[in-house]
């Protein structure tokens, strides 16, 4: 199951269980989940809405404790310990009272950068992602798409060993999404940081990652692990490859199957 | 402090505080005169006149936060019953100048006319007792008086609305009415009951001061005495001293009040400030009889004439 067994994986999630509520209202969200992300590996998680992906991220981030099981980063058990990951949430979550540049700088400073380093790095990269002229604007005047791009930048520049991306491009338009994916790919292939990505787009998972982990409906278990057969560096025209649709259908079918077996409450 | 007298002793003056009982008025003129004409300084005192908070002077004097205060007989009587060690050292005005006032149009010229009228006061039990005593003299029934509490509203506002008569000091409110040309019927307490001829106001200090620093008490009373004597002899000048010290006072009222009050400070007493035991016992007995006191007053300890300067 794990490609990098000799090295210590950057992230190990081992037999984690999580439920919310007590007594009759108790709801199992994650039932025995294990996964790893190796050094420099790009892993995607695909799963239905409500399958507990955000909950999993919160446990890795140390915000909630798993009911059972361990979370290790670099081999060190970090259950409930914060500050080990950089993060890009589903919704941009920019502080509305800080400028775009100020938001990015703050994240870097929290991760330990000096004020000066943070400012330089930020202005350099805002230029690179084409938002140079928005550095001094407040997030409120940016469109949803632009906000999400700033949010991505903020996660990218933080120095932690593991990046958690929770549906990062969901709010971008198809075009920008593709160009961001391409761009992320090129950066990532040059730097090989460890990434755990939640995405709803099977295409995105196929395009970006080394492995795809397919989660079931809650209580979530790993349904399938799919090693993406494309090499690196990848072409950004992957989606025009006729094989691509086949892979896509395969992942889709795994998901589809689990849903028809599930309780089906939240799906038609 | 405004005019340091050149005749004054040059060694360091002893700082003492005197707390007033209310906003500065002509009851206090002697203190201001003594301060500003240097009488206190001549006795080695640097007196600071302090205007009181809501709670008056008594507790501050008793606790030692201030050395002297302006008080009145009823308050000292109640204080002593409550084991608050206050002592009156001088009567500022010899006879009670307070009474029940009403616009003449209401026709209240005698206590029996209170019947069926509305009295505006503070809601204290002593008020009803005093009114009852006056009416008793005329065989009238206090039960027929409508008692209303008017709090801080002034006399002139009160009688505009709901209220027929109220309890005032003639030297201040009565004089103001004269200045306005409003005719008042005035029923003085002293006209109907000797027991109600109590001292108001008085100068007070604590037992501790008397025990520990009698010379300072002596100096203070001596200075105050000179101040009030000056006010008795030169009412116009004394009024100007007060107005100068407190320029925000109603100057016309101060002048007129000072003139009216000049011969009331000492009145029939052998010297200014003199207090009589019977006045203290009479009023305390009266209060006790009316259930206004929870104990008997040891009147001898409530006041002293010992610090009054000897009349030459």
């Amino acid at each position: 199951m794990d490609g990098n067994a000799v090295d210590i994986p950057v992230l190990t999630v081992r037999n984690v269980r999580k439920s919310f509520g007590k007594g009759a209202a108790k709801k199992d969200v994650i039932a025995d989940l294990s996964l790893t992300v190796g050094e420099g590996e790009f892993v995607s998680i695909v799963g239905p809405s409500g399958s507990g992906k955000t909950t999993l991220f919160q446990m890795i981030g140390g915000l909630t404790l798993p009911d059972e099981g361990d979370i290790l980063i670099g081999g060190k058990r970090i259950n409930g310990q914060r500050g080990n990951v950089s993060y890009m949430p589903q919704q941009a979550s920019l502080l509305p009272w800080r400028t775009v540049a100020g938001n990015v700088e703050l994240a870097l400073q929290i991760a330990g950068a000096s004020r000066k380093e943070a400012a330089e790095l930020t202005s350099e990269w805002l230029g690179k992602i084409g938002l140079a002229s928005y550095g001094d604007a407040y997030p409120g005047v940016l469109s949803g798409g632009m906000q999400q791009r700033v949010s991505f930048l903020r996660a990218l520049l933080s120095p932690q060993r593991l990046m958690l991306l929770d549906e990062p491009f969901g709010a971008l338009d198809a075009l920008t999404r593709l160009s961001m994916q391409r761009w992320l790919l090129s950066i990532w292939e040059a730097n090989r940081r460890s990434v755990l990505l939640v995405t709803h787009s099977i295409e995105e998972a196929l395009l970006l990652s080394d492995r795809i982990i397919v989660l079931s409906q809650s209580p979530a278990v790993v349904l399938d692990e799919f090693v993406v057969p494309y090499g690196r560096p990848r072409s950004d025209k992957l989606w025009t490859d006729p094989e691509f649709n086949r892979y896509k259908e395969r992942v889709y079918n795994v998901l589809q199957e689990s849903l028809s077996k599930g309780t089906g409450d939240s799906h038609v | 402090e405004e005019q340091q007298p050149d005749s004054g002793t040059e060694q360091a003056l002893t700082k003492v505080k005197v707390v007033l009982d209310w906003t500065p008025n002509t009851n206090h003129t002697g203190l201001y005169v003594a301060r500003d004409k240097g009488f206190f300084a001549e006795h080695g005192l640097d007196v600071e006149i302090i205007q009181p908070g809501q709670d008056g002077a008594d507790k501050m004097v008793a606790s030692g936060a201030a050395e002297f205060g302006v008080s009145y007989q009823e308050s000292i009587t109640m204080a002593r019953i409550a084991d608050v060690p206050l002592v009156s050292v001088a009567a500022v005005i010899q006879h009670n100048t307070s009474g029940f006032a009403s616009p003449v149009a209401k026709g209240i010229d005698s206590p029996e006319k209170f019947e069926g009228k509305t009295y505006g006061g503070w809601g204290a039990p002593v008020e009803e007792a005093v009114i009852a005593s006056l009416m008793q003299e005329k065989g009238a029934d206090v039960g027929k008086v409508n008692m209303l509490s008017i709090g801080d509203t002034d006399f002139f506002t009160a009688v505009q609305r709901d209220i027929d008569f109220a309890w005032i000091y003639y030297a201040w409110t009565g004089i103001e009415a004269e200045l306005r040309g409003e005719k008042l019927n005035m029923i003085y307490l002293t006209d109907y009951s000797d027991k109600l001829d109590y001292y108001t106001p008085v100068l007070a200090t604590s037992e501790k001061m008397i025990a520990d620093k009698p010379e300072i008490v002596k100096a203070f009373v001596a200075g105050a005495s000179e101040g009030y004597e000056y006010a008795i002899e030169h009412p116009d000048d004394a009024a100007e001293v007060l107005i100068k010290a407190e320029p925000d006072l109603n100057a016309d009222l101060v002048r007129a009040s000072q003139k009216w009050l000049a011969d009331k400070y000492q009145d029939d007493a052998p010297r200014w400030g003199e207090q009589k035991l019977e006045v203290w016992t009479n009023y305390a007995d009266w209060m006790y009889e009316h259930g206004l006191l929870e104990g008997k007053l040891e009147a001898e300890k409530a006041f002293t004439n010992d610090f009054l300067p000897d009349k030459e």
């Binding site: - | 709670d55 008056g56 008594d58 507790k59 008793a62 606790s63 308050s75 109640m78 204080a79 019953i81 409550a82 084991d83 608050v84 505006g120 503070w122 809601g123 204290a124 039990p125 008692m147 209303l148 509490s149 008017i150 709090g151 801080d152 509203t153 002034d154 506002t157 009160a158 505009q160 609305r161 709901d162 209220i163």
Partner: protein, 257 residues
């Protein structure tokens, strides 16, 4: 949630703090030998309070009878005024300064006027309490009404929500946290304001009782009344907190507190 558990968890910390304070007070008074008429010890206050218990109760009821309609009327007036200002375009800038102004006419100037116009009944006292209570409610509600989530507002506007529905369904529920913080302030003030209002002329009530006790040098009674005032205030505050809990059910549980 556990509605049964919360009260205890909430009540013991302040109770402990209060008990500690009282103990410290008792010890300090004994240690420094403070005179009774300045600062009586908690024990002698309690003793005196029990001695005059029935009378104290009567006065307390009178104050409560003034405070409740005062608070309710003030809060209602504050609510209406804020809603009015919110609804009438331009009213905010025109009337807001008047609200501030209303808090700055001292009783010394206002008392006689109220008396003159309204006599010595309960009305001028109620008006004084209203005047104090409406203000924090209005200010808090106005700032809440002005702070609606733009995304929600945008949605509601898109589907053509009327001004009125907007107010009831979006702006007011959003402002409810603000409203309650204003109500808490008003509740905290309502008791003391009732007491102060009694000073402008009253034959009963804790304010009247304090006045007489104070002039009679019965400081222990003054403090007994202070205790009752504090207790009434806390009760009022607690009522508002309770009302908030009932009204704001949708807030997700917070960690920590």
């Amino acid at each position: 949630m556990g509605n049964n558990r919360i009260p205890w968890r909430k009540i013991w910390p302040p109770a402990a703090v209060l008990a500690a304070l009282l103990a410290a007070w008792q010890i300090a008074v004994s240690a420094f030998g403070t005179a009774e008429y300045i600062l009586p010890s908690p024990l002698s206050i309690a003793e005196e309070g029990i001695n005059v218990g029935p009378r104290l109760l009567e006065h307390t009821l009178a104050t409560v009878g003034l405070m409740l309609p005062g608070f309710a009327g003030g809060a209602a007036a504050g609510f209406l005024l804020a809603a009015l200002i919110h609804f009438i375009p331009g009213a905010r800038s025109g009337l807001y300064p008047l609200l501030v102004l209303s808090q700055n006419v001292p009783v010394i100037a206002l008392g006689p006027l109220l008396t003159l116009w309204l006599g010595y009944g309960v009305l001028p006292k109620l008006i004084l309490i209203w005047l104090v209570c409406f203000f924090p409610v209005s200010v808090a509600l106005l700032s809440g009404l002005n702070d609606t989530d733009p995304k929600l507002r945008n949605y509601m506007e898109m589907i053509g929500t009327s001004r009125w529905t907007m107010f009831w369904r979006l702006e007011l529920p959003h402002a409810i946290a603000h409203l309650f913080s204003g109500l808490k302030i008003a509740a905290s003030y309502s008791v003391l304001t009732a007491v102060v209002a009694e000073w402008i002329g009253s034959e009963k009530g804790l304010g009247h009782f304090m006045m007489l006790s104070s002039s009679g040098f019965q400081t222990a009674r003054v403090f007994a009344a202070v205790f009752l005032i504090v207790i009434l205030s806390l009760a009022m505050f607690g009522l508002v907190v309770l009302a908030e809990r009932i009204c704001v059910r949708w807030k997700p549980d917070r960690k920590g507190e």
